[in-house]
């Protein structure tokens, strides 16, 4: 047993549902107790989906406990088949149903005798994989199902498309800025003269999956979703794939060069160097931003990064390599993929933290006192309590992270968006500097909401007034440093003298 009230990655069935409900006309039936269909609420709320989420429960209740599901699951599958005419029904086990150890595979077989649609059992172990791993597995399973089916029927297309073409993998429901990234990636491919063959799973039809092998290569922008499918297709058809996330100027260029190499290997004879150069220097503002005076003021500022592997790794590289920011530590909650992450960010930060424990991350932030945090919603709240700005770069996220406006993280427009995010998070370098010179314009009485509940130290009037002169965004830090100093030296009241002594002792 583990004591916890916050988790970064959800349970396995959420991953399965994210993939299945991203496809068009695929229905998921959860073998679960009433109340476990919370996924529908998230889809409807966070994504503001206009359509009913294609997920229903085949409810596990007392009767099921006593006698087994018997006909119930099969009936629910055939019923959904006649009601909604889906192409595929995915039977989704949950943590509850996996303990029951019913033969779900058998239900699937029996149901598929009577249904027009295909029926599949999501093959995920709830106690071994999380949301992200399960999503990856489910996508592979669906791709495999339809590839094999087409092969049996002799419907697999032979040969490639005439012009270079690509499949984009991993765009999914409830993914962080996925829709915007998808648009941006399509735009990028069009600019490169590459046709889009299929995008999966979002808005794709399973009936088109047999066409996947027509593409010249697969692009997997996210580390978490799509790699397994890409590997499967590589193994089946020798299809190459690009798994460099085009996030940030340098990585986008690297991704494009890799694509160039893959296409040229297949005889395309393309050269994207001019395109990269043009985009980098004149179209994207990010390269220019890193030269500008604004960014100069960010030099050496401390930041910490935490999120899923893809976004945390990309952000760490952008901050360190493209903006000259000092990343004290970078971390991910994708424990299962720790080696990859360490390899990616090792040279760009002082320390790598791999954990699923939000408490540990909170402490690590408090210890470092960075000028800005780039993390998930949890880190944003830690930032609020410590008075440190935070840019949200990865799931888990709230409704405000599903913006209506166009905000990709990938591609060249993505680099602009990220530059804005970073710059706005670092409380405006110049303003910071000017406020320090002129003693701040903030005259509010409120001091700070410290992370420790109560302070046993009294501030005398003068010191209090002095503290209020400190600009708002560093006041909390000054207060904590001074109090720590006073506590260490055994002062009970903080006077101006103590305050200055503290300032001197930390050399600030």
């Amino acid at each position: 047993m583990k004591l916890a009230y916050w988790m970064y990655a959800g349970p396995a069935h959420i991953g399965t549902l994210r993939v299945s409900s991203s496809f068009k006309n695929v229905h998921a039936i959860m073998h679960a107790p009433i109340g476990d269909d919370y996924f529908n609420v998230m889809r409807s709320m966070l994504e503001r989906d206009r359509n009913f989420t294609p997920v229903t429960i085949s409810s596990v209740d007392r009767n099921v406990l006593a006698r087994g599901s018997q006909e119930k699951v099969v009936d629910n599958i055939t019923r959904k088949d006649t009601e909604e005419h889906p192409d595929l029904i995915v039977l989704t086990p949950t943590c509850t149903s996996s303990i029951l150890q019913e033969d779900l595979e058998n239900f699937v077989e029996r149901a598929s005798i009577d249904t027009k649609c295909d029926v599949m059992l999501a093959d995920v172990n709830h106690y071994r994989v999380n949301e992200l791993q399960a999503a990856d597995i489910t996508l592979r399973q669906i791709v495999q199902l339809y590839t094999e089916k087409a092969r049996k029927k002799g419907e697999l297309p032979t040969g490639k498309t005439e012009k270079p073409s690509v499949n984009i993998f991993g765009i999914s429901s409830l993914g962080f800025h996925n829709h915007h990234d998808c648009t941006e990636l399509k735009r990028l491919m069009t600019d490169l003269g590459i046709e889009i063959n299929e995008v999966i799973p979002e808005a794709a039809s399973v009936l088109n999956l047999k066409r996947l092998s027509q593409a010249w290569f697969n692009l997997v922008p996210y580390r978490e979703l799509g790699v397994m499918s890409a590997k499967y297709l590589e193994q089946e058809f020798g299809m190459p794939y690009v798994d460099i996330t085009p996030m940030g100027v340098v990585e986008t260029a690297r991704c494009i060069r890799k694509i160039q190499q893959i296409l040229n290997d297949q005889g395309a004879d393309v050269n994207y160097e001019d395109f990269i150069n043009e985009q980098t220097l004149y179209v994207s503002q990010a390269a220019w931003f890193s030269r500008s005076i604004d960014c100069q003021n960010l030099t050496g500022k401390k930041a910490v990064v935490f999120g899923d592997s893809t976004h945390a790794a990309a952000m760490t590289k952008i901050l360190a390599r493209e903006m000259g920011i000092h990343v004290v530590w970078a971390g991910t909650y994708c424990k299962y993929d720790a080696e990859w992450f360490k390899e990616q960010v090792g040279e760009y930060c002082d320390e790598v933290i791999i954990t699923e424990d939000h408490g540990l991350i909170g402490d690590a932030i408090a210890r470092v006192e960075p000028s800005a945090i780039f993390g998930t919603q949890m880190e944003r709240h830690v930032g609020k309590r410590l008075n440190i700005p935070c840019g949200v770069i990865a799931a888990p996220v709230h409704i405000q992270n599903f913006p209506i406006g166009y905000k990709p993280f990938c591609g060249y427009e993505g680099t602009n968006q990220i530059a804005d995010l970073v710059y706005n998070s670092f409380t405006l370098g110049m303003e910071d500097h000017l406020l320090e010179i002129f003693g701040g314009h903030d005259t509010k009485e409120v001091i700070t909401k410290g992370i420790s509940a109560g302070s046993d130290l009294g501030w005398n009037k003068e010191a209090q007034a002095e503290l209020n002169k400190v600009p708002g965004f560093v006041r909390g830090k000054v207060k904590r440093n001074t109090e720590k100093f006073a506590r260490d030296r055994g002062f009970s009241v903080i006077s101006l003298e103590v305050m200055y002594a503290a300032k001197e002792s930390v050399g600030a």
Binding site: G35, S44, F52
Partner: protein, 466 residues
């Protein structure tokens, strides 16, 4: 569509394929209500994910609840339940020092048959903190019924004798009274003469403190003294319940608690409609008065005054229809109130219908419909959401009260919706809060009135029928 005026309410039961919150969600409001408690939900990642997402920002406020997340070793009994729970509870004791730890059993603990009721007393005596066990799982219960299971378990912990407890309470609250030194003591006990002499009355159901005060004062006007509430603000202040006391429920989903109070604590239950809406509140007070042998006074004027103050809202909803998809068990009371407001109700979906506990409420619903001259609604227990949506598409009610899973899709199809969960978190009880119910009910109508000329009602393309 014409509906034949039926003689009595009809009850149907569908497939039970409906959307609702898992009953463990009760920790969200109960940990806030019972200030010295700590709720430990013993379940899996699925439970945790639900709580994390359903409670939104509350998660970040260092809540007094946590998951005891079961791992593979727990499921296969490679780890010892007792030792594991002891380790976690000691950690909670060290970090938070609560006056009670409430264990919430989940589907998983049911299936692996973890004997929480058996483990609790042992651990309780070992670590010195009361442990209350409630099985609020999705196999058996829906949403608000979670509170019912917790309060039923708490009912067993209410002290039996006044004297013993008072001194003990004083001792336990020694520090609190020290801190309050010099403050004027609330003069609750000041005027016993304001009350009629009657058998002690204890109310049950968790309500926000302002509503507790409002209802308590409402009864005080009739000379009725409320001896205590289950639950109280603190676990250490649970009310004394002696054999023969009267008890009355304030929410329609508290049938287990009522049963426990009657059977195990030998209390007498006052069966009445629930104090939701001015009509319900009045009926509730009248019933309590009649049981205690008191002639109620001033209720006519009080009720009329509330109705008059709501006239602007009533004009918006008179003659309109409202469809309850059903997910929180408040449906019967709300429907009854809305019929009195002049609405028609084609269907009341409800997860579970206790006809005995809700008897008075059902009778009031029936009478209200007859008096208002509207057809009696179909009451559908364990509804099937898919079928309901077909019926909604056919009859196109003016308002659908539903869960968040269906709200946006229905709005996109030009159907007004109100999110049902808001009724469980808003203050809706008593005379004072009647207007708040209508504030919720009319909000989609008011909003859509504002937008009505834009021609943006249907925002999905017609689906092709195959």
């Amino acid at each position: 569509m014409t509906v034949a005026q039926t003689e009595a309410l009809t009850f149907e039961c569908e497939t039970g394929n409906y959307h609702t919150f898992c009953p463990i969600s009760c920790v969200a409001w109960l940990y806030q209500k019972i200030e010295d408690s700590f709720f430990l939900v013993i379940g899996t990642k699925t439970c945790g994910y639900f709580l994390q997402n359903a409670m939104g920002v509350m998660i970040f406020a260092e809540p007094r609840y946590a998951m005891a997340e079961l791992e593979e070793g727990d499921i296969s009994a490679q780890l010892n339940d007792y030792e594991e729970l002891k380790r976690l509870c000691l950690q909670i004791k060290r970090d938070r020092n609560p006056s009670v730890i409430v264990w919430i059993g989940t589907c998983t603990t049911e299936i692996i048959k973890m004997d929480l009721e058996g483990l609790a007393p042992r651990l309780e005596s070992e670590i010195g903190i009361p442990i209350v066990t409630a099985r609020a799982n999705g196999l058996d219960y829906a949403f608000t019924q979670g509170e019912d299971t917790v309060l039923a378990a708490m009912a067993a912990r209410c002290p039996e004798k006044v004297s013993v407890v008072e001194s003990e309470k004083k001792e336990r609250n020694a520090i609190a009274s020290l801190l309050n030194f010099g403050k004027k003591k609330e003069d609750v006990a000041a005027d016993e003469s304001e009350y009629v002499k009657h058998t002690p009355l204890v109310l049950f159901g968790s309500l926000p403190d302002p509503v507790v005060t409002q209802l308590t004062l409402e009864l005080k006007k009739q000379g009725i003294k409320v001896s205590g509430w289950l639950p109280s603000k603190r676990y250490t202040e649970l009310p004394v319940i002696e054999e023969g006391y009267y008890v009355s429920g304030v929410n329609p989903f508290l049938s287990r608690t009522a049963t426990t109070l009657m059977r195990r604590r030998k209390c007498k239950l006052i069966g009445s409609p629930f104090p939701i809406g001015p009509d319900g509140t009045r009926a509730w007070i009248e019933k309590i008065c009649s049981v205690l042998g008191i002639t109620p006074k001033g209720l006519d004027e009080r009720e009329a005054q509330i109705w008059a103050s709501m006239e602007d809202y009533l004009q918006l909803i008179r003659g309109k229809s409202v469809f309850f998809m059903g997910d929180n068990l408040l449906e019967i009371s709300l429907a009854r109130f809305l019929v009195r407001c002049g609405m028609t109700v084609p269907e009341i979906g409800i997860p579970y219908m206790d006809k005995r506990f809700q008897a008075a409420e059902l009778t009031l619903l029936e009478n209200t419909c007859k008096e208002m001259g509207v057809p009696l609604p179909r009451i559908i227990e364990k509804p099937d959401n898919y079928n309901q949506i077909q019926r909604i598409q056919e009859t196109r009610p003016d308002l659908v009260i539903t869960g968040m899973a269906h709200a946006n899709p229905l709005e996109a199809r030009g159907i007004n919706t109100k999110w049902s969960v808001e009724f469980t978190f808003a203050q809706i009880h008593g005379f004072t809060n009647s207007r708040d119910i209508l504030e919720l009910v009319t909000r989609p109508l008011r909003r859509n009135n504002n937008l009505k000329d834009l021609g943006w009602e249907k925002l999905v393309r017609e689906e092709a029928k195959i």
